[in-house]
Amino acid sequence: MANGAQTTAGAEITVRGLEKKFGQLKAVDDLSLDIPSGEFLALLGPSGSGKSTVLMMLAGFEVPTAGAITIDGRDCTRLTPQKRNIGMVFQHYSLFPHLSVIDNVAFPLKMRGASRADRRRRAAEALEVVRLEGYGDRMPSQLSGGQRQRVALARAIVYQPRLLLMDEPLSALDKNLREEMQLEIKRLHSELGVTVVFVTHDQGEALTMADRVAILRGGRIQQISAARELYERPANLFSAGFIGEMNMIPAQWDGSGLMLAQGDRLAPPEAALIGAVPSGVATLAIRPERLRVSAPDAPGALAATLEEVVYAGAGTLLIARLADGTEIRARVPSAGLPRLAEGERIGLTFDPDALLVYGEAAA
């Protein structure tokens, strides 16, 4: 642990029936959420899903039209931001351009009436935590994007807040820097023990960084679970389609087996059913990397017509079509792949535990 870091117990947050209307539009709709102390939670969703509005209400920049937010048992629903003792990192860093790096970092301490010497010492420590010791006298305009982001982080953690909010903090950085900062923020999180709520539209970022990911759509939580479960057992078709790639094949469920339009009948294991699947229209979902290529008439294989072969080094993407016109994608290792020609008939096989079955209501 870096010498400046002090572990604080993270805040515990309860959100109940949260709602925010802008005119007629409900940006956040009856949203409830429990964030245990020290958790790293990502709010993930497309633009307009309400994820940023939730963060704005946690910070106090927006007042909910209904519902309540409690931080460590204290009702904060209507509390002004300056009284919440929250650290926040903004999308565009929002460092004060007229203040030097050290003065930026010391700003929250100054607002809390710390003495000058105390401010400088603690700000220098926070800069050390984000590995920017010695940069204190520079102006923000003299720093690179990644360095500015570190300064913004230092400013957010300098007074040891129990809750850290991050509003797409990495979206302005280029890819390499973004990956470096992801690890950096994770390291900080585990060192400081602070609760983190992180808004992003980048699913990779959410899966990499967060303990749990909440997927939002239309102001509602679609699913909230750990990264692995989210990816391997999406709770509904929206989550399934939103996280990673997913093949979705229309089918009929008859209570024990699945009929595909082209005539195959599959008998997925009990565990493949997501929620209650009533007889009738259903969807079979399967990740492209869980498919393998075989002969078209191999037992258990789905026959398809190959349309495109996209070679990408380690892996190859195969785009094929079922008889009913459904597109199906397979990502297979390039090594050992037979030479395949577009237009060829192939078979696609899978392990039974790769199957997911959604009823009509799970759309």
């Binding site: 931001p81 300056q82 003792n85 926040m88 999308q91 004060f96 100054k110 809390r112 400013r155």
Partner: protein
């Protein structure tokens, strides 16, 4: 930072010579209508009636002229400060409003430009006269018993000049405030700053370029202002522009009037240099937030 610069229709950067050519009419006009008359006035001031500095000595030797100069500086300062305090809230309101409200405020700021300064000054004369609306009002609420002299006073000059010059303060401050991203206010708030601290620690320092720009604009304009002091001011409390005009038109004393112009020019130049030295003019005119 790389700037696109002036673009030709084909999208290429204009050459240096091309830029100079485009600006030539402007420089010609400045030279012909500003530099040439100013320089010839200044030369009159040191060559007539004889070569020497006797015109300037006369300004220094006669206390009343020094007084006029000091009064002019004082009134210009007062007008600038008043404008600043009136303009800042207006600029803030402009930045924070949108839609119809923003259009309304902007119109209120710009509308006076559609009428001449003469009309606006005359309007103040109507308001401030002995049986004008201001006297009536003051009597009605019982502050005064009988009409007082408001017109032809320094107060009238300050009020009317502030009214006329305030837009020049609003616009640069508005420009500076508009360049401050709203996230700065949020960042200050989440760092624990209440509205007042947020204003003094973040908003005001970042608006300083606009404040100084507006201040210097209003101050320098007020220094040489003529119409309003001439129409609303007291003849016993002249400002320098009215004095110059009097010397020219009533006493036909061109050399002495020219010396007064020389002194005014000296002050304006000195103040501009001082400002640009202390506050970095280049930053003031945009660029860095």
């Amino acid at each position: 930072m790389s700037m696109a610069g002036f673009l030709q229709p084909d999208g290429r950067n204009l050459s240096k010579a091309g830029i100079l050519l485009l600006m030539a009419p402007f420089f010609l006009l400045i030279g012909f209508a500003f530099l040439y008359p100013l320089l010839s006035l200044l030369s009159i001031s040191v060559t007539e009636p004889q070569t020497g500095l006797q015109n300037y000595e006369r300004i220094l030797d006669t206390p009343v002229y020094g007084k006029v100069l000091l009064r002019t500086l004082w009134i210009a300062l007062l007008v600038s400060i008043l404008s600043l305090f009136l303009a800042f809230p207006v600029a803030m309101a402009m930045v924070s409003s949108s839609g119809a409200m923003a259009v309304f405020i902007t119109a209120c700021i710009l509308l006076p430009f559609w009428s001449s300064v003469l009309v606006r000054t005359a309007a103040w004369a109507v308001l401030l006269q002995r049986n004008g609306i201001v006297n009536d009002l003051l009597q009605a609420i019982g502050i005064i018993d009988a009409p007082v002299r408001l017109l032809y006073t320094q107060g009238a000059v300050v009020v009317a000049m502030t009214h006329v010059l305030m837009p020049f303060m609003v616009l640069p401050i508005y420009g500076a405030l508009r360049n401050i991203p709203p996230d700065y206010g949020r960042a200050a708030a989440i760092c624990g700053a209440g509205p007042l601290r947020s204003f003094f620690e973040v908003t005001l320092p970042l608006a300083m370029p606009g404040v100084l720009g507006g201040f210097i604009l209003v101050f320098l304009t007020a220094l040489g202002y003529f119409i309003t002091p001439a129409l609303l001011g007291s003849p016993q409390e002249m400002m320098i522009a009215t004095l110059i005009s009097q010397q020219l038109r009533e006493f036909l004393d061109w050399p002495f009037a020219a010396a007064l112009v020389g002194v005014l020019t000296l002050f304006v130049t000195a103040i501009t240099l001082l400002f640009s030295r202390v506050f970095r003019f280049d930053r003031m005119l945009g660029g860095q937030v």
